[in-house]
């Protein structure tokens, strides 16, 4: 089962639409609450990242019987040094974005903490693609 969402860069009012839709679906499927929680936290962070940094993005959520695979593809500035961005507290968010309570540098480390598998590809000046995979049963 596939769910697709478009994300508009800079529109914080709509940040979280994808994660809340996915959350509803996972609850209806009866995925254990604590596992849903990890998926949603990771997805929400990644979604907010697109809103905060990119011009636009597409989220595709692929639901399988045993796992969910999420791909977030954005057109944006890209990440120069991914391992640096993974460190807690590192953020390139602008002052305005931080003032809204986003971009405190929790983004990638928090995604990593909540994702079972995480893969990031990025080209500076072009965009970033994030793959998140989480399993419904603890492996």
């Amino acid at each position: 089962m596939k769910l697709n969402f478009q994300v508009e860069g800079g529109n914080f009012a709509k940040a979280g639409v994808a994660s809340s839709e996915v959350k509803k679906v996972l609850k209806k499927l009866g995925v254990p609450p604590m596992i849903i929680r990890r998926i949603v936290v990771a997805l929400y962070e990644a979604e907010v990242n697109i809103v905060a940094h990119a011009q636009q993005g597409i989220i595709s959520v692929d639901l399988h019987h045993d796992k969910v695979e999420i791909e977030l593809r954005d057109k944006g500035p890209g990440i120069g040094d991914i391992s640096q961005a993974m460190q807690e507290g590192f953020s390139t968010a602008s002052e305005e974005v931080r003032a809204m309570g986003f971009g405190a540098g929790m983004g990638l480390p928090n995604i990593k903490k909540n994702a079972d598998e995480l893969n990031i590809e990025s080209k500076v000046g072009e965009g970033t693609t994030v793959h998140i995979t989480n399993y419904f049963a603890k492996p």
């Binding site: 089962m1 979280g16 994660s19 809340s20 959350k23 679906v25 609850k27 209806k28 499927l29 009866g30 995925v31 609450p33 604590m34 849903i36 929680r37 949603v40 936290v41 929400y44 962070e45 639901l63 019987h65 928090n110 909540n114 419904f136």
Partner: protein, 470 residues
């Protein structure tokens, strides 16, 4: 799986089928989509209902009622305690004094009175103790004061149950406190009945089947609006020797304000947030699920707007009540220390609150998957206008009922029309379908419905009463 057979949880909200006209107002407001129209009457799916009373507020025919114990039951006991929250006092207009209110309670037959929030310092210290010494998960901790929000979390936000403060609500504490006081007076516990006067269906449900503990300590529950009416009728008649509340010198500012928005928040340092009103509570819980509120330490939630001043069995306007409550609070001192009340503090602890997720399509995940895919294809055919004429709160809810085998395609009146046009079903059959959902008399001419020729307002009279009146 039929959800209606699950779990024997107690519910205080009931429907009077004689008054219900299946007008569908309640369908849309229920936060857990617990209501369906069956055979022309609203019905509640018990496992989903959180006793918040939103349906009660929305019903134009007063078909929802709150179960309660008969007031005469107090006379089963030699000593009769009226246990009531501060909002009870603040409901009354300024020309009725506290002393008059207490006097009427005695006149009704109560031998003792006690305000629920009297021993509040025990609760304040105990919650602080929980936050500092027991809780070790992610912040924030969530107040367990409002049982409607506790149940909402169990049913709809099960992953958040671990944030709940594992302490009893003030009414339980107060009941223990009263028992202790009675014992000090030398009263045999079996001779005393404690009656809890409440504005809240969720509190009644919680008292009858408490979350996280076995048995409640209250002996009976009285609907606050009933006592309100009695006080209003008798108060101005009481003269001379006014009774005072037995333990009035123990009432504190914090206690009086506890059930209002910011009441609990005020007692805690750190960053806390106070949220009231069901739709606001839902929004904040959604954000919390997204992992978005980690900088908040304490989250105070109230299902009703203006907290318990907006409870469904409150008679007075919630804003006026809250205003009077703030003014009353100014006249009382700050809460004293809870030192020496350790025994009571022990009674406050409850076991962990279990999640009770109710929104899944099947207990088997693979089957749930298949059902979801089916529901999604059904949605392609439904009109998507959420009209409620099928008896479900939305087209999606109908599609999900269908895959649970609790509804059929022809329940949708638009599909029926279409199928008739396409010659798939006869007009006769279509009409019978409608009658099945909406009851056989649904299409009779009825001039007593709202806005019709003989609309008598709510509390509709039947013909017999009508004749007596004129």
């Amino acid at each position: 799986m039929n959800q209606s057979n699950q779990l024997e949880l107690h519910h205080a909200i009931k429907i009077d089928a004689d008054k219900c006209r299946a007008c569908t107002h309640c369908l849309q407001v229920c936060p857990t989509e617990a209501i369906r129209i069956r055979n022309g009457k609203a019905t509640i799916i018990p496992g989903r209902c959180v006793d918040c009373g939103e349906c009660h507020r929305a019903c134009p025919y007063q078909a929802f009622y709150v179960e309660q114990d008969d007031l005469s039951r107090i006379f089963d006991y030699k000593y009769r305690v009226a246990l009531f929250p501060a909002v009870f006092v603040s409901q009354f207009p300024e020309n009725i004094s506290e002393e008059q209110i207490y006097s009427v309670l005695k006149q009704i037959g109560f031998t003792h009175t006690c305000e629920v929030e009297q021993p509040i310092s025990v609760l304040i210290d105990s919650i602080k103790d929980f936050a500092q010494n027991e809780y070790d998960s992610e912040s924030p901790i969530i107040s367990s004061f409002c049982p409607a929000t506790v149940r909402l979390i169990q049913v709809k936000y099960p992953a958040l149950t671990e944030h709940l403060v594992l302490r009893n609500a003030p009414h339980d504490l107060a009941a223990w406190y009263v028992r202790q006081r009675l014992a000090e007076e030398g009263i045999d516990p079996s001779d005393a009945g404690i009656f809890y006067i409440t504005p809240c269906a969720a509190k009644i449900a919680a008292v009858k089947s408490p979350v996280g503990e076995k048995k409640s300590i209250v002996d009976g529950i009285i609907n606050m609006s009933e006592i309100y009416n009695q006080v209003m009728a008798k108060a101005t008649g009481v003269t001379g020797n006014f009774h005072s509340c037995d333990c009035r010198n123990e009432i504190s500012r914090e206690g009086i304000l506890w059930s209002l928005p910011e009441g609990e928040k005020a007692a805690f340092d750190g960053k806390s947030l106070s949220v009231d009103g069901m739709h606001n509570v839902i929004r904040i819980l959604e954000r919390l699920e997204d992992g978005d509120l980690q900088d908040i330490d304490f989250l105070e939630l109230r299902a009703c707007e203006e907290g318990c001043a907006g409870g469904i069995m409150m008679t007075s306007n919630r804003f006026l009540t809250a205003d009077r409550q703030h003014k009353r609070a100014e006249k009382f001192p700050e809460a004293k220390s809870s030192a020496g009340m350790e025994e009571l503090a022990e009674k406050l602890r409850i076991a962990s609150v279990q999640p009770r997720p109710m929104v899944h399509l099947d207990t088997d995940m693979e089957k749930a998957f298949a059902k979801m895919e089916k529901a999604r294809s059904i949605m392609c055919h439904l009109p998507g206008i959420d009209c409620g004429a099928c008896g479900a709160p939305s087209c999606l809810a109908l599609a999900e009922d269908m895959v649970r085998h609790e509804a059929r395609m022809t329940d949708c009146i638009y599909i029926q029309q279409l199928w008739q046009k396409e010659g798939k079903i006869s007009a006769e059959k279509a009409f019978r379908n409608l009658e099945k959902r909406w009851g056989e008399n649904r299409f009779d001419v009825d001039c007593s419905k709202r806005g019709a020729k003989n609309d008598n307002g709510f509390g509709l009279m039947n013909e017999g009463e009508d004749a007596d009146l004129y």
